[in-house]
């Protein structure tokens, strides 16, 4: 199947590297994304690249997959210095990449997607593809319907297709970029098993993640990146000699320079007194017809009380975004009631709900949360366009708008050159702070957080989580939608599990909750 040398994983540490990076540097305007990186990728190893957002992982993948070229340093393939000129060249060299964002054409079938890249004059050879893929997928235990439209697959299935694609092209090196961020706990386990199988066959797997636990669970060799530099490497021998906790401690030290446990391991203390309060946000019988790419909503009902955090767990694409949109008023439900602060708000438009204190912090920060080309100051008022004192008789009051922006920028520590900077130029963490500022601004009573830390680095993740905790502490009701179970366990009072647009169960966040939620997500009874 592969051209790689048939080394077993036992003697992999002495195998000749397929790819060797030496002194690789890549600069972008204003930042050094990769600074003098040395690295060797060997067959028979899962090489984990561990680092936070902005550590330079994506740039490194770009370099290996032919999307960008290094400014300095060399990349050697099989010992020969090679310039990877294009994605096509990378594929020809045997480097296959599964990107974080799916790279399948939604309007083509799985088979057609797998055939992309064949010589253009050729008829698509579906029969031979079918044979090849069948062999491959059988041996890996993956089941894929070749005639399904890519858009109709779940994110996990799409990822499997992309792995198959890389393997069917005889890749010797398989790069997996943040591949677990969209998967269920079981899905992550399966991916781990798959990686083990692949390295047994002599492939080199590069696994990119910012999750310490995954690095410890799946790696053979670990490289830790920080601010564009490689700050440490753990060899397979050393890796095997350490247990899980020691590994985590070592990662933390390399990444953050301090010795401690996993900083994400926080558990919320229960607040039994909340039970007696009157619900602030209550939803009953909420229904939305399924549409392309989402399962709709099916008879959703829950209450959130002041000071309480209700977590909504579930794999991405099970109706979370639709639920948030319906609650915020962006989308009309087909049935059911929403009561907020004692009033029926089912038919209220977005701004009326916002004015009443119901706020929605979207997960799609650039897609719908902001207008990238508009300055920070305007984005902070995007949901209040036309309101006094920022507009009088419809005329913009620049001084008031700017003062308001400077105030929030300071209060929420938004790092921006000025309030006039287009918000699209800020980092994800700072955009998120601006959105927090906008949604938590005066008058908030209940806040819906949709995947609030998705794509943020650890520092911003922790800051955002503590902000969410503060919001609840101050007596506001919080609905926390997240695909990150650790996050939900760290923050929520109760966790409801959303599956195929239906709440399949709600559990109190007490010891054992992790198991219960995991079982519910996997389709089992709690």
């Amino acid at each position: 199947m592969t051209a790689g040398s048939p080394n077993s994983s036992a003697d992999s540490s002495i195998a000749e590297p397929i790819v060797t990076l030496s002194g690789v540097t890549k600069r972008f305007p204003g930042v050094v994304a990769n600074d003098d990186i040395d690295m060797a990728i060997r067959p028979g190893e899962v090489h984990v690249l561990l680092g936070e957002n902005g550590a330079g992982k994506s740039t490194l993948i770009g370099l290996l997959s032919g999307l960008i070229a290094p400014d300095e340093g060399t990349i050697a393939i099989d010992g020969r210095a090679t310039q990877i000129a294009s994605p096509r060249h990378a594929l020809a060299l045997g480097i296959g990449t599964v990107f974080q964002h799916t790279m399948l054409v939604p309007t083509l079938t799985v088979a057609e997607n797998l055939l992309l890249g064949e010589p253009w004059w050729r008829r698509p050879r579906k029969e031979s593809l079918q044979r090849r893929i069948e062999d491959l997928s059988k041996s890996l235990g993956i089941e894929i319907d070749l005639d399904a439209l890519a858009a109709d697959l779940s994110l996990g299935e799409q990822q499997q297709v992309e792995i198959l694609r890389a393997l069917s092209r005889n890749s010797r090196v398989l790069i997996l970029d943040e591949s677990t961020s969209m998967l269920t706990p079981e899905g992550i386990e399966e991916l781990g098993d798959l990686m083990r199988q692949l390295v047994k066959r002599g492939l080199a797997v590069v696994f990119i993640t910012h999750k310490l636990k995954e690095a410890a669970a799946f790696g053979d060799r670990i490289s830790v990146l920080k601010l564009g530099r490689k700050v440490g490497e753990i060899s397979p021998d050393r890796f095997r000699s350490l247990d899980h906790d020691q590994l985590i401690a070592e990662f933390v030290e390399m990444m953050f320079g301090k010795r401690s446990g996993d900083p994400e391991d926080v558990v919320r203390s229960p607040h039994p007194e909340l039970r007696d309060r009157q619900p602030l946000l209550s939803v009953s019988g909420l229904t939305l017809a399924p549409a392309r790419g989402n399962p709709g909503l099916n008879d959703i009902a829950f209450d959130v009380r002041p000071g309480e955090i209700l977590g909504i767990a579930g794999i991405d694409g099970n109706g979370q975004t639709q639920l948030a949109r319906v609650l915020a008023g962006q989308q009309r439900a087909d049935g059911g009631d929403i009561r907020f602060d004692g009033k029926p708000v089912t038919d209220w438009p977005v701004h009326a709900r916002r004015d009443a204190g119901l706020r929605y912090l979207t997960d799609d920060r650039l897609g719908e949360g902001t207008v990238g080309s508009f300055p920070v100051s305007i984005n902070l008022l995007l949901k209040q366009i036309g309101d006094p004192p920022f507009w009088r008789n419809g005329i913009e009051q620049t001084a008031a708008i700017d003062a308001h922006a400077r105030d929030l920028i300071r209060q929420y520590d938004v790092r921006t050159p000025s309030e006039h900077t287009p918000i699209g130029r800020l980092s994800g963490g700072n955009i998120q702070k601006a959105l927090l500022a906008r949604e938590l601004a005066e008058g908030a009573k209940a806040v819906i957080f949709n995947k609030p830390t998705y794509g943020l680095d650890l520092a911003n993740t922790l800051a955002t989580r503590s902000r969410i905790g503060d919001v609840a502490q101050s007596g506001k009701a919080v609905l926390l939608i997240s695909t990150d179970l650790d996050e939900l366990l760290a923050l929520s009072d109760r966790i409801a599990v959303l599956s195929a647009g239906r709440i399949v169960g709600t559990v109190d966040n007490e010891p054992g909750a992790r198991n219960a939620v995991g079982r519910l997500m996997g389709g089992l009874a709690a």
């Binding site: 999307l67 096509r88 790279m103 399948l104 992309l116 064949e118 253009w120 050729r122 008829r123 698509p124």
Partner: protein, 311 residues
């Protein structure tokens, strides 16, 4: 109306409809390919008029209508090359460049025509007709449908070639990927700019042949602004058909019938202003859109230049 009269009327109508539909069909099929690949080719009107002028010039000089088609295709291709260079390679605004090319070529061809032919207004001899044996002998429909210039049959055949190309070839997959998710095509190892360039060049060649047909077969001469919006109609047809070549054929025939209806009614001695009849197909399409109006599924990346490494 007696039977003979009805026959003549219908004959003129069908014959005229097909003659008028061919340039629209070629333009529509061409534009469809560009749009499938993600390029909104507003310059197609310019490509058509370039094809009309140089097609006519070649046919006139070489005394061969077939060479005229080649000349027309070459001219359309040349204009498309500029479009591809500026809009696909450099990523310039497709609307500005498209309108610029259209205006410039309308002016340039009119200018060149003025210098060369403004006194003589030469005409080409009537084009050869290919009669399809047996079928052409069917009363009424036979002469109307099966006694045409061979290019007519070739254009209809092209519809099926396109269907085959889109559904059954690797290149068809590449085109669709370039329009719907160019980044996916890129990482699959196919160059997006090349794919789009090929599509735009094909559009140019087809539009050029359409223009040449308009001048050489349809009119027998070139006059300034002869395309008169046929290229823009091609854009409308391509957008309505959304990737289905057969729909372009139906659309082109609908517009062809209405263009021919004017002449046919004159033959019949019924005097309805041209403008009223010309409104019919647009009204029909708009009514269709109002009644069946639903979200149009145009390619996701239509009009957006692709740059590697940008998400």
């Amino acid at each position: 109306m007696d039977a003979l009269f009805t026959q003549m009327f219908l004959g003129a109508l069908f014959f005229g409809a097909i003659t008028a539909a061919v340039p629209l069909l070629l333009a529509g099929l061409g534009e469809q390919m560009s749009e499938k690949a993600g390029v909104l080719n507003i310059g197609i009107e310019g490509m058509m008029i370039a094809g009309a002028y140089f097609g006519f010039l070649t046919a006139y000089q070489a005394e061969s209508i077939w060479l005229g088609f080649i000349g027309g295709a070459a001219a359309g291709l040349a204009v498309a090359l500029v479009m591809a260079l500026l809009c696909v390679r450099l990523g310039l605004n497709q609307i500005v460049i498209g309108i610029g090319l259209t205006l410039g070529l309308e002016g340039l061809t009119a200018l060149l025509h003025h210098i060369q032919f403004s006194r003589t207004y030469p005409r080409l001899p009537a084009p050869q007709i290919l009669e399809i044996p047996l079928l052409a002998d069917i009363p009424v429909i036979g002469p109307a449908l099966f006694k045409h210039h061979p290019m007519v049959y070739l254009s209809v055949a092209l519809v099926f070639v396109m269907i085959f190309l889109y559904r059954r070839t690797q290149f068809g997959l590449n085109l669709q990927a370039a329009g719907d998710k160019p980044a996916a095509l890129d990482v699959a190892g196919v160059d997006v700019a090349t794919t789009r360039t090929v599509a735009v060049l094909a559009t140019g060649a087809l539009a050029g042949i359409g223009g040449a047909y308009l001048a050489n077969v349809g009119a027998g001469l070139f006059v300034p602004f002869i395309t008169n919006g046929a290229g823009f109609l091609g854009i409308v047809l391509a957008m309505l058909a959304r990737g289905r070549p057969m729909w372009v054929l139906f659309g082109a025939l609908l517009f062809g019938v209405s263009l021919a209806l004017t002449t046919a009614l004159q033959v019949a001695g019924i005097n309805i202003p041209t403008d009223v009849i010309q409104m019919i197909p647009f009204l029909a399409v708009i009514v269709m859109l109002v009644v069946f109006g639903r979200r149009s599924s145009l390619p996701a990346a239509l009009g957006i230049p692709y740059q590697r490494g940008e998400r």
